[in-house]
Symmetry: C3
Subunit: 342 residues, 3 copies
């Protein structure tokens, strides 16, 4: 593809280099070659621009480099433009329609014609699989599940009874959608009596679920992951939670039951959200933090328990010297006592 | 079911409303309808009682509400009574005896007649599967495993060599029972030499294991999850651990090797327990905490490392102001120095 | 095996007891019997030496016990010698060559003759499986994967497109190798645009991966786990990471994208490593800690965010008394104010 055509398709402009230069693909600064376009988004990687073998680079407006030999596509957001280039050079392969003979599809399941169902997939009673769906091997779909158009389900995934999966979703390997919520009541003998978990999970459209993630169903009602939310690997979503549109939940984060996460919330890695909370829209909670209280829209929180990120940064800076602080106080107490005695 | 009959079966009493009212099912305050019974257990949800469309509600003794139109079943523990109602309205479906033709059962396995084994299940040599067991698709059971009566094993589960699963257990999807413990000795060249992991895991009766959880076998001997213990999703149980009767281990908690967890212990979400520890009976460790020391019976601990929960609450409250505290100390030092100089 | 022969094979010497004593196996102090050899490595277990029923014991040089009835093999490192004994008594069972008829192997896959492929395994196009490989049931291997000699892949594992698995690796149940990295660019409408993840994962030789672990591929290029690294259960390795030779990554640890972990690094349980970092050789990060900065070779770090372990121990000791410290400061302020007023 010519540089000028790539510019047009990525909403960028050729600001340096020959517009008819051929670009074959896109890659990071460290591995891109002469026929490839790269990008600079994290200033940490600026030194790599000096030595990259890439033939072209996406740069955000205002970012300057010292490489007159490098073609430059200028974009409002270099990372977004690079993403679009990657998508152009790496289109999703089309599905190969058909059902592998080893797949076990219940006779009552409604399966569209143009779907791809691989070996050893099991589809239960009264399921509905829409067109364009691709299911990799060894997937188990329980009774009553629906899967929307063009959704991809990777090998080893289990989708439990009555769950509803939207269109254009991607579910990565070995994840579990709709397992029982962790709910018990303590009986008179202090033993745990299981609370039936007969609800379901709804994934709306454009949701992506990482590998080895578990999303529990509700006891009654539903857990819901809204349109465009992205969930990483090894995440726990407890029963009856709602995750807002375009939320981003990073790896190993856990939500206890019945919490509601707002739109565009970002939960970084290994975050914990206690049960029955409301986390407002556009909240960011930094890695390894946890909240047991509701969070207002737009807050950036850190710590266990979490509070304002800037305050937390001050507190953690002081924490590093806390041994010294404690000694300073003991010293001060002695000096003050001596002063008082005088 | 008539309200009066439901009261009898849930050990509660009709304290308001018509005893012959028909109740069809049970649900939370936000979704229950006119023919459904709900409950109030967490005071946070008291405002929902004002607006619920439920026809009846379980209330614990001493809890009052302002809804004379709502039938009330009074119970010692409203949550427990509601759980019993849910169980009455949602009985477990009976198993459908049979072995799917695609299942691969080794000829030496002893399988009871009234079991349900689904598609693509693999059962190894010398296994013993007792009556009433239900195994969902794509489960792998290695050689020498025994599974007790009425246990349910969900799709994608792997049970490794020689493990022993008790009666009335539930193992959720994609969990691993009996994977190798993480044990290595460092050799003379500073490389890791694998320690053979030839032990097994024993789940006693009434144990429930969540989705995507991993329980390692012992190197020699066994890891044991005792009667009635409940383990949530994405939990790590290291080699040779013992988890006590009726313990509750919440999502994403991890136990390193050889630790012993007492009876009725509650480990909240994302807790960490170091190796070779003893955690006493009835201990509670709050979310995201970790202990590297033994814990006495009945303690409630928090923090990393964990200490008394009330002390921790005081410390975390002070931590939020730690930047200010550090500045106060510097100010004090200056004032005291000036006083001394005078 | 005679004690003297065992001594020779474990590079130890008979320092007490009859050299021709028969040893049949090896086990921990608490479960070893008269024909078994045990070991003492952790001083915590010294009291068990008094009561063990083991017939023999490995002791490191300089460690003394009060049991003249116990045969003693003296080794430079008792734990390493015991590991070698366990390996002698528990050799890996040889593979049983063959492909189960229910396995689905693409016609274009190159599969060596002396391999063991179990029931319901699926192997994609253009894969290459070398000799001595053992694949347990319900494993899915996507197109273009290569698996080196003598590697063992346990049930439920998924290996995604084009990944390269070295020789003598072990991958435990339900793990995912090569799932998509968690990468999105925010578009003009604040929605997440998926960044194609077309790279791969390379496991070099002698790598072991625990159960239910997820290792993401790179967007472009590769994620690499180097020779001899050992990764525990439920670990998250983000896209484009490199894990150094002989590194040890304990359960539930998470690495965000593009980080580089040095040789022989030990990351204890539930550690977090932020993205785009370099962690030097021989670093140790203790359990539940997290770093968002590069770490120099040989450092031992703790805390969130992590700093020097000894400083952290001082800080956490002071933290336990932080409520008291805050009160001491308020008291001091009053006393100093009164002094100034005088």
């Amino acid at each position: 593809m010519k540089l000028s055509e790539l510019a047009e398709k990525t909403f960028s402009t050729v600001s340096q280099g020959p517009p008819d230069m051929e670009i074959e693909s896109a890659a990071g600064l460290d591995i891109a070659g002469a026929a490839e376009i790269s990008f600079l988004a994290n200033p940490k990687y600026t030194p790599q621009v000096e030595v990259t073998k890439a033939g072209a680079i996406f740069l955000s407006e205002g970012v300057e480099i010292n490489r007159s030999d490098l073609a430059v596509l200028r974009a409002k957001d270099a990372y977004l433009a690079y993403t679009r280039a990657l998508r152009i050079f790496n289109p999703e392969p089309p599905i190969v329609s058909g059902i592998h003979p080893s797949a076990v599809i219940d006779a009552t399941a409604q399966v569209a014609e143009d779907i791809e169902i691989s070996a050893n997939v099991v589809v239960g009673k009264n399921c509905k699989i829409e067109s364009g769906v691709k299911i990799f091997p060894n997937v188990t779909i329980y009774d009553g599940v629906s899967v929307g158009k063009n959704t991809v389900i990777h090998s080893g995934v289990s989708i439990r009874e009555n769950c509803e999966i939207g269109a254009n979703c991607i579910i990565h390997n070995n994840s579990t959608i709709g397992s029982d919520g962790f709910g018990y009541a303590k009986d008179e003998e202090k033993r745990w009596l299981k609370i039936p978990q007969v609800g379901r999970v709804v994934l709306e459209d454009d949701v992506e679920i990482g590998a080895n993630t578990a999303i529990d169903c509700a006891s009654v009602g539903e857990s819901r992951i809204k349109r465009g939310a992205k969930i990483d690997n090894l995440v726990q979503i407890g029963h009856s939670c709602t995750v807002g549109e375009d939320a981003l939940i990073c790896a190993q984060t856990g939500l206890a039951g019945s919490s509601v996460i707002g739109k565009r919330v970002i939960l970084a890695g290994q975050v914990g959200i206690a049960g029955h909370l409301k986390v407002g829209d556009d909240v960011v909670i930094t890695a390894k933090s946890a909240t047991s209280h509701d969070v207002e829209n737009g807050k950036v929180l850190s710590g266990i328990p979490a509070f304002d990120n800037r305050e937390w940064l001050r507190s953690t800076a002081a924490f590093r010297k806390l041994g010294d602080l404690a000694r300073s106080i003991r010293d001060l107490e002695k000096r003050v006592s001596r002063l008082i005695e005088k």
